[in-house]
């Protein structure tokens, strides 16, 4: 059937005169398309088009230092009723990946990059001379819908520099979310960044419209915050996080009683810390993250390796961002959230004299090498929590081992089928036909299980 033209294809469900494709020239499509569908070539229209794109370039560029792009874990919605647009499932979707390896799931922009604060790590601080731009609420709404209709994004992540006052800025952010939800019945994902000093009522409204709200703690230590973000107040940031936690809990209670009760930030709240801009060690950061999870019921703590920014303040060093350190911190975060490690156990994987996690091996392997006496572990008998400690065994593999071993005793090649690499696991386990006697007691175990370093090509094409 492949020879059929689209006109023929299209005529199958809806018989009608076949028409060649033309780009939209009809009236009735608003906003963004307005700018591009006007008669081409005239100076004013070209300026207008340039203007939106130029503003987008500035305001997306300014937003890229926020690491979060998650669109998961919110309430399920759809627009099958034919009114409005959008849906959310349990799991978010990454619609593209940038060459920095980050997922692009949301349209992540600032409403404006003008700011009355002067935080040294921030590209948008008052004393920086970057180009400033500002979107109106309507422009953001139109842009979000235009991208969403073409399946580029899951929704919107809106943040902003602080202009005039925290309340004024927060009102603008809330207005974008309100308009999307109420005027356009948008059912996609919305993440709003709240301004710490804004009125609690505005923060509540943000939570009513948004799936997720977040406030950045910015730096892991109080000293660092004082030095690098002198206008921000750690206590007020934590106060706002506590308020959001209480509102989320209230709305959970209410929905239990009345199904129709309004939801508050169903995807919870998250925060972000900058890594490498203050004196905090990995141990400090891990402990700080775990208290944040406990105290404010956070869904996620994001780590952002401090990267050189154009027009940086003289207060901060200009180096390559510590990407590997950031990666190891995420891994340690995973150990606490999915592998039942206590924070002090993760800290125990760090070097005691520097408090830093090793960069050449992951923290789980580091922990196992530090506590060699706990291994090997018998795959056929060990409890779940011990299986989770084996370097190279993930949660899925552990679950598969637990169900499989109820029916027979597992051999090494059974384990190999359930995991990515059995070579890495071998020294740490006992299976029906495998005992790592020689391996476990070797003094030079580390080089055997450490991933090989790749020699980079000097003249790579």
């Amino acid at each position: 059937m492949t020879g059929a033209t689209f006109a023929q294809v299209l005529s199958v469900p809806a018989p009608g005169p076949a028409r060649p494709f033309t780009h939209v020239t009809s009236p009735g499509i608003t906003g963004l398309s307005n700018l591009v569908r006007l008669a081409p070539g005239t100076y004013i229209e070209r300026m207008a088009q340039l203007d939106t794109r130029e503003k987008l370039a500035i305001l997306a560029d300014a937003a890229k230092y926020d690491a979060s792009c998650a669109s998961s874990g919110t309430a399920k919605r759809n627009s099958a009723d034919g009114k409005g647009i959008g849906s959310t499932e349990g799991m978010g979707i990454c619609h593209a990946y940038a060459p920095d390896g980050r997922c692009i799931s949301l349209l992540k922009i600032l409403l404006t990059n003008s700011c009355i604060f002067d935080c040294h790590y921030c590209i948008n601080r008052k004393s920086s001379n970057v180009r400033r731009a500002r979107f109106t609420a309507d422009e953001v709404v139109e842009l979000t819908l235009a991208f969403y209709r073409r399946n580029y994004i899951e929704g919107l992540f809106l943040s902003s520099g602080i202009i005039r006052s925290p309340d004024y800025t927060m009102e603008q952010l809330v207005e974008v979310a309100r308009s999307l939800r109420e005027d356009h019945h948008f059912r996609g994902y919305i993440h709003l960044k709240t301004i710490p000093d804004a009125d609690p009522e505005l923060v509540r409204l943000a939570g009513v419209h948004a799936d997720r709200v977040s406030i950045n703690v910015e730096l892991p230590t109080a000293g660092g915050l004082k030095r690098l973000a002198p206008e921000k107040d750690g206590a007020r940031i934590e106060g706002a996080m506590a308020d959001v936690k209480a509102s989320i809990a209230d709305s959970r209670d209410a929905t239990r009683k009345y199904k129709s009760a309004p939801r508050f930030a169903p995807a919870g709240q998250s925060t972000q810390m900058i890594v490498g801009a203050d004196a905090a060690t990995d141990g400090d950061i891990v402990k700080r993250a775990s208290t944040l999870y406990d105290r404010f019921g956070l869904r996620r703590v994001y780590y952002s390796a401090f990267s050189p920014i154009p027009d940086a303040s003289a207060v901060l060093p200009l180096r390559r961002p510590p990407l590997m350190r950031e990666h190891r911190l995420y891994q340690s975060d995973w150990l606490m959230r999915f592998y039942d490690y206590r924070p002090d156990e993760v800290v125990a994987a760090a070097d005691p004299s520097t408090g830093m996690l090793p960069l050449d091996i992951d923290p789980k392997l580091a922990w196992a090498l530090r506590f060699r006496d706990r291994f090997p572990i018998d795959i056929n008998r060990a409890p779940r929590e011990m299986l989770l400690r084996v370097p190279g065994l993930g949660v899925k593999a552990v679950n598969a081992i637990l169900t499989s071993r109820r029916w027979r005793r597992l051999r090494l090649d059974d384990v190999a089928r359930l995991t990515v690499s059995v070579t890495k696991i071998r020294p740490f386990i006992v299976a029906e036909d495998w005992r790592p006697v020689m391996l476990t007691d070797r003094a030079d175990l580390k080089p055997l299980v450490t991933p090989k370093r790749e020699q980079l090509e000097l003249f790579a094409a």
């Binding site: 689209f6 230092y65 920095d100 050189p308 060093p317 200009l318 109820r406």
Partner: protein
């Protein structure tokens, strides 16, 4: 040999009906040939002989997990999927708990197949791109997508739920789907040429893609793992990738360069406040265990716009009590040498590689102990901050500890002494001995010679920035 014909490649119900009857009649898997539509899969299957199976057999149950697996695996493009699933079904009748044995070869094989299908379904939801085209009474959103497996129909509900108020069409080589706002219709397969060429909004989207990317953190492997090249041809933004990659290093270097040369706050204005804040933060440092027995942090001192920075090893007993660097016996030697070399100490920034006093208590005295690599590493962060603030043109490392801290690796003083070196983060450096070494020399003549060499080093280093 029986031939079973499944009308469509993704028809789970047809497979289930046939498999149920075959299994009830205990037909062994080797005796069945499965084929899709009118395409024969077995040359020797002979005439189509789906001869009727004997009477209605008793019904039998299968675990839920098997049905879930089969529903996904049937969408795979692997031709043996029907046969493998039927083999698993017959084995399940003998071993009812087989699905729980996740390490079984057949279960594993089918799991892998189902996983590939689920991934393809997910990637279609992620990477499909609609283009807006004009149509009578509004517009239609049309996408061209080439899935790897037979997933299009299974994925239709997702697009209906999400884009119910739009009119859209999804064209694929196998079939096409059309939604008019009320009902979903299926059409024949299409070609790329049937799909529209472009959409003006794609230029705006590309602007976003290029701007949200941070050139300072290139991770091409991570991008390719999740967005393999096979999907690129139907995604407008991927056309930018080569150009973004090529420009990334230049953009990062430019970011660092502009900040380094044309910093908005010239030396001495906001840097002074920054230095004071940094010192205050350092007073509470607990990055290594040395803070516990020491009296206080001994931070560097000197003009923030100094051209020259001198780094020692660590504070001694007297520095620890005074809270200032180079005031003890070694400090006096240092001052004498600076005077002899005619370098004004008040115009030099002086600091230590390790900021807390490390000692071993012996009786009532505290005996200096050499800092370990861990402690030097922990304290390097502060040196890095001081260097970034002061930005000296020349940094003098006195002793092995200071050299290790500045260069991040062990340096042999005798080999590196006497010439200008380059610091890893920019700026010149000079390596010499620590003044306490001069104090420890027993032979007076040798001590004088060494002192003269030390003075010579300081003078030569100062000359570089003069």
């Amino acid at each position: 040999m029986r031939v079973v014909t499944i009308p469509e490649p993704d028809d789970f119900d047809a497979w289930r009906d046939a498999a149920r009857d075959l299994a009830a009649a205990s037909v062994p898997p080797d005796d069945v040939v499965w084929q899709v539509g009118d395409v024969p899969t077995d040359l020797f299957a002979g005439e189509s002989n789906t001869r009727a199976l004997p009477g209605a057999a008793p019904a039998f149950g299968v675990p839920r997990a098997f049905l879930d697996l089969a529903r996904s695996a049937i969408l795979s493009r692997e031709p043996e999927r029907f046969a493998l699933l039927y083999t698993l079904l017959t084995r399940l009748r003998r071993e009812p708990k087989l699905m729980e044995d996740r390490a079984d070869r057949l279960v594993r094989r089918l799991e892998e197949m189902a996983k590939a299908v689920r991934r393809d379904i997910h990637k279609m939801r992620a990477f499909l791109r609609f283009r807006e085209v004009a149509e009578e009474g509004g517009s239609r959103y049309v996408a061209w997508f080439e899935p790897e497996h037979h997933i299009v129909r299974a994925n239709a509900a997702f697009f209906v739920n999400r884009f119910a108020s739009m009119r859209w069409s999804i064209l694929t080589p196998e079939l096409s789907l059309h939604w008019d706002g009320k009902a979903l219709a299926q059409g024949p397969g299409a070609t790329r040429g049937d799909a529209p060429e472009g959409d003006p909004t794609e230029e705006v989207w590309k602007t976003y893609y290029a701007s949200i990317f941070n050139p300072a953190r290139l991770k091409v492997g991570a991008m390719l793992k999740e967005m393999p090249r096979k999907y690129w041809k139907n995604m407008p933004e991927t056309a930018l990738v080569p150009e973004l990659l090529a420009g990334a290093q230049a953009r990062e270097a430019q970011m660092i360069d502009t900040a380094r040369t044309a910093a908005p706050s010239p030396k001495g204005t906001n840097s002074m406040a920054a230095w004071q804040a940094l010192r205050e933060e350092a007073l509470g440092c607990t990055r290594c265990p040395l803070y516990a027995p020491a009296t206080q942090t001994v931070f560097g001192e000197g003009p923030i716009d100094a051209e020259m920075m001198i780094v020692g090893e660590q504070p001694g007993d007297q520095e620890d009590l005074a809270g200032r660097p180079f005031v003890g016996p070694a400090g006096q030697v240092f001052d004498r040498a600076m005077a002899a070399a005619e370098v004004d100490r008040t115009r030099v920034y002086v600091t230590n590689a390790v900021k807390h006093f490390k000692f071993e208590p012996r009786g009532k005295r505290r005996i200096h102990a050499k800092p370990g690599t861990g402690e030097i590493e922990a304290c390097r962060w502060w040196i890095g901050q001081e260097l970034a603030l002061v930005r000296p043109r020349m940094t003098v490392a006195m002793g092995a500890t200071a050299a290790r801290s500045l260069f991040g690796r062990t340096m042999t003083i005798s080999r590196e002494r006497g010439r200008v070196l380059d610091l890893p983060d920019g700026g010149a450096a000079w390596i010499t001995v620590h003044p306490s070494y001069l104090l420890r020399l027993p032979d007076k003549v040798q001590a004088e010679e060494e002192f003269a060499r030390f003075v010579e080093d300081l003078r030569a280093a100062a000359k570089v920035v003069a």
